[in-house]
Symmetry: C2
Subunit: 421 residues, 2 copies
């Protein structure tokens, strides 16, 4: 293991190479980028034995260190996981290249023509947990969007990630791209993360993926912009004018389709005029699925539920637990959302035009829906073709972040010799 | 003056009011926002005496404290400055409202319809120097873009800013908007800035306007995203295939139209094949304007110039000084730009299609131009109608920032009861 000064120096060297490679990548054609992605897919396929062998080292160490079953499961590179990585690379190769797109080009009174060109951000640093498949995921999205990538996975996956890095390098070399285009950090020293998030001269944006604690720590210490995902405290509001059949299906799906995901509903808001009609039916459906219910006093008067505390409104359960609150109006629902939501995803169920339009306009979350399950808040469902994460930030990328979220726009000006008067 | 704890508490209160007002503002119609802007304009017009009286207090204190003539000039609220502020409010009222615009709405295979809606950022904090007219400028752009504003001007302008704040409040009240929509910080304590940039719960983005030192300090200490402008080290490259008449006009205009502005050219790059043809003629034009020339050795062999040091390539002169370097090729010019540019604005002068296209694609600056003066990098020249500043950041807003740069986009989903399978 390197000492702290050496880690700083090593990361600076990684940064310098990434910065240089980012210029080459920004000037590379879509064809070259796709060729690298395809070559990486072939290299993964050709190195299945190596990947399995190196992954087994990580798994053995993980078992020895008492990693729990879920973590070991995410660490494992099974033949199916490797198939998925190969398929993912081919899918990203098939996506349209966002770079170079010119929009809004129009003439100004001065005679210059002004527009915007979509361009890579430059160098993207990704910090993630011990899931080696994320290494390929992140590499492919950065490469396709024209960004050099610095990838720092969890230390438990270091052998797997180094083996994957060899396949990535082979792909880059095959396509004639510098190896600095995608670098997997070779040290497991935590100081590497500290260095990476404080070198704005080499890194343009950091995307941390992992637990809330990690993300908060990174955001707080970073000297580089961070695209981040914090909580997903998502709401469904069943309006007075809801179609109760739609409401039932959406409220059930938003909670029970998957529990441990950020776009699952955590609090159900029900207009008091329809609470009696919908809550008992929903309650028995939730009970059948094993969902624990915690409700306001009005809810508890209608169904069998534990009395919710203020903490329940502010909690992302990520579990078969649901908070339910009966509200007096659309305004009360929006007030509750403004106070407790993490501004991730909220949905209204209503047939009323004006209320639907108000909810859509006034609720300040990264996804706002009418008559749809919050579970649709996802890059694939939105048609992005891929997703590096879901941002709960307001500036730059908001909601699901695909290739476009890893790009920016510069202004371009076409003239015939114009000068300012 | 308040003590430090009180300043924290005061700023938190300002933040709470801004956050609450931002919800009202986000739900307000374009008509209401415009009515407030028009009412502010009327209030300024009706309070010219008050403004002059309060401004005189600032000017007297400034003279007493030995402020230099340029600072006093920027501090002064002359009848003409007030006319400009009134006219500015009316112009912003006349601009299209960016909020609510829905784009890219399309159906997905699941049956949901997905698109994006442009929305305010929420609460914008603006920190600026002792130029009271900026108070109105910033207030109008934030209000029109649906953002609550917290405005912190330089302490030398406090009396003027308080008087302007009265006019702003009158305008808000006339339109029925909460006073929290635009708040001028009432204390001159520097701790107010420290508080403002570290309360992400109340402030969504900070826009600092001022000297580089101030902006670097704010960026480094902020816990809130910062849209910032650092250097403007802008380049013009005269290519081998340049039309030398255009090159002459652009190189002269980019340097001498105004000296103290961020989009002025600071370094001229000239292809060696045209250096003999263009440099002597340019040199005498610059001499006539009193511009000091500092050149590389090849430049000094052709014209009378001081030998440039490495520092010259990295300096934003903001003065009648120009660095000139003769380069061997387009690649050498782009290498120089990649190394020394502040990524603000660069222009190539060329008649060559392929080289122009390469420069446009490969140069990574917020504005990249062909055959136009760098002085065009400006919100008004680009047709934004207004400008809160020019961003040298890569994420979110890049280059001139108008109303759109003060907004974000949320995802909207329209469904008929769709759930995830």
């Amino acid at each position: 293991m390197l000492d702290k000064v050496s880690v700083q120096e090593y990361m600076a060297q990684v940064g310098i190479e990434a910065r240089a490679a980012s210029r080459v990548l920004a000037a590379s054609t879509t064809g070259v980028k796709n060729a690298a992605l395809q070559a990486m897919a072939r290299a993964l396929d050709a190195n299945r034995d190596l990947l399995a062998r190196e992954n087994e080292k990580d798994l053995a160490a993980g078992r020895e260190n008492g990693l729990d079953a879920a973590l070991l499961d995410r660490l494992a590179l099974t033949p199916k996981t490797i198939d998925g990585m190969i398929e993912g690379l081919r899918q990203v190769a098939a996506l349209p290249d966002p770079c170079g797109e010119i929009t809004d080009l129009s003439f100004r009174p001065s005679g210059i023509q002004v527009g915007k060109m979509r361009v890579p951000l430059g160098v993207v640093g990704i910090i993630y947990e011990s899931r080696p498949n994320v290494t390929i995921d992140a590499a492919s999205l950065c490469l396709k969007s024209g960004n050099a990538a610095i990838l720092r996975g969890g230390k438990e996956a270091i052998h797997s990630n180094r083996a994957i890095a060899q396949c990535i390098e082979q792909g880059l070399a095959d396509a004639g791209l510098p190896l600095g285009c995608v670098q997997v950090v070779q040290t497991t020293d935590r100081a590497a993360v500290g260095a990476m998030i404080t070198m704005p001269e080499y890194v343009d944006v950091i995307v941390p993926r992992g637990g809330k604690g990690l993300i908060e720590r990174i955001s707080s210490d970073a000297k580089v912009p961070v695209i981040k995902h914090l909580d997903g405290i998502c709401h469904v509001y069943i309006d007075a004018k809801a179609d109760l059949e739609k409401a039932f299906n959406i409220a059930l799906n938003a909670k029970t389709h998957r529990y441990g995901v950020c776009n699952a509903m955590e609090t159900l808001l029900v207009d008091e005029s329809v609470a009696t009609a919908i809550l008992p039916r929903l309650a028995s459906a939730y009970k059948e699925k094993g969902v624990e219910l915690r409700g306001c006093d009005k809810t508890c008067a209608l169904i069998d539920a534990k009395l919710a505390t203020r903490d329940d409104w502010a909690t992302e359960y990520l579990a078969p637990v649901l908070a339910i609150r009966v509200v007096a109006s659309l305004e009360a629902a929006m007030d509750h959302i403004a106070q407790y939501s993490s501004q991730h995803t909220e949905s209204i169920v209503t047939e009323d035009y004006t209320r639907g339009r108000r909810f859509l306009t006034e609720v300040d979350s990264s996804s706002v829906m009418i008559n749809a399950s919050t579970r649709f808040a996802d890059g694939f469902e939105y048609g992005l073709g891929a997703e590096i994460g879901i941002s709960t930030d307001k500036i730059h990328a908001r909601g699901p972040v695909g290739l476009e979220g890893l790009t920016s726009q510069k202004w371009i000006v076409l003239g015939d010799g114009q000068i300012r008067d």
